[in-house]
């Protein structure tokens, strides 16, 4: 295996280990979040984001890493977002958690994986059509919140931390 494959594998093992330990790989946790009854997946995700954003913005400011924003293509993100949200609720897994769920024995997630591989092949066939329709509406490009709002990330980050921690306190108060 090449260096990039080894690095990917090691990162993935650690990621999968932590996801399993936090129990977010379960169908019940995913659906629980969407039914607004169990916010475990959001606690994990938002905690990771709080820590990650500080490190990534620091490393970017220091010129050590570069940001890799995905395009804010209006049609793609809105229509794609609707389709993903609907499919996510029906299958009860997202792409990353489905494979982890199989790892912890929940082999029915293989069915969701089969569906997603078929979906990827379907998408590859439809790509030229989407490119000339949905993607052609409006593309804002690869933009970040700081330059879009004209506010320093070091103002946005503390606000995001304050908002998220308030949300965590509310989750705990409500037993979500």
């Amino acid at each position: 295996m090449s260096t990039d494959q080894w690095l990917g594998l090691i990162t993935g093992v650690l990621f999968g280990f932590l996801l399993q330990k936090s129990r977010v790989l379960r169908f019940e946790k995913q659906i629980g979040a969407m039914l607004l009854k169990d916010m475990t997946i959001f606690k994990v995700m938002l905690s990771a984001i709080l820590v990650g954003m500080v490190g990534i913005v620091l490393l970017t400011d220091a010129g050590i890493v570069t940001l890799g924003h995905k395009s804010m293509n209006l049609g793609a993100v809105l229509v794609g977002g609707v389709l993903f949200g609907a499919g996510w609720a029906i299958m009860g897994f997202c792409p990353g958690t489905s494979i982890g769920a199989v790892g912890e024995g929940r082999w029915h997630a293989v069915l969701a994986i089969i569906g997603m591989v078929v979906g990827a092949a379907v998408y590859a066939e439809l790509y030229p059509f989407f490119k000339s329709t949905v993607f052609a509406w409006k593309d804002f490009g690869k933009i970040g919140l700081p330059e879009t709002l004209g506010i320093s990330p070091w103002v946005i980050i503390p606000l995001f931390w304050a908002g998220t921690i308030s949300l965590f306190l509310w989750f705990e108060k409500k037993g979500l």
């Binding site: 039914l35 293509n73 609707v82 997603m116």
Partner: protein, 180 residues
């Protein structure tokens, strides 16, 4: 704050913090060793897996496809990362004995019964719709949600809001109180 949850899991805040540190380490390591900053993601791997499988039966079709060509059908860093998630979950669940063979999710069984065929049909349909959506939006809750928000990407915030609000709406229709 409790360190363990009722189901023997780690505190979500602790696990999440460690995921955040892993994400930072991963961004640093990919930049240093691979020469290109890579962010955690998962859904592009499904495109590559589809391409690898389709290539065994219709190699010309895959070679001629614009999207497969754009995403490059190969076992790359992210592909191994996704396989690693499987291994990591297997190791973790074997260690704390939470590994459990399960043919139908308990929550699904409660609502729709124990039929594997019925679950299969819906899981596959949901998977197709979700992956078409994820590829169109160019990311899933890992790529757009986790990695996008960490970078303060506008697309990450919009995509995650769409994923979740539509998920809430559809989940209420499918599993909600009114329909059960």
């Amino acid at each position: 704050m409790k360190r363990k949850t009722g189901d023997g899991g780690w505190s979500p805040y602790l696990a999440g913090t460690l995921v955040g540190l892993l994400a930072i380490a991963s961004v640093y390591a990919t930049t240093q060793w691979l020469g290109k900053t890579s962010y955690l993601g998962a859904s592009t791997t499904f495109v590559r897996a589809a391409g690898l499988l389709e290539r065994t039966v219709a190699p010309d079709r895959v070679a001629a496809n614009e999207y497969f060509t754009k995403e490059k059908v190969r076992v790359d860093w992210q592909f191994m990362l996704v396989l690693g998630i499987f291994l990591g979950a297997l190791i973790s669940s074997a260690m704390d004995r939470s590994f459990k063979l399960e043919g139908v999710p308990p929550r699904w069984e409660k609502r729709f019964g124990p039929s594997i065929g019925k679950r299969a049909a819906w899981a596959i349909l949901g998977g197709i719709i979700a992956m078409v959506g994820a590829r169109m939006a160019d990311g899933c809750p890992t790529g757009h949600g986790l990695s996008g928000l960490m970078q303060l990407s506008v697309s990450g915030f919009v995509a995650l809001a769409m994923f979740f609000s539509v998920g809430v709406f559809i989940a209420a229709l499918v599993y909600g109180r009114r329909s059960s």
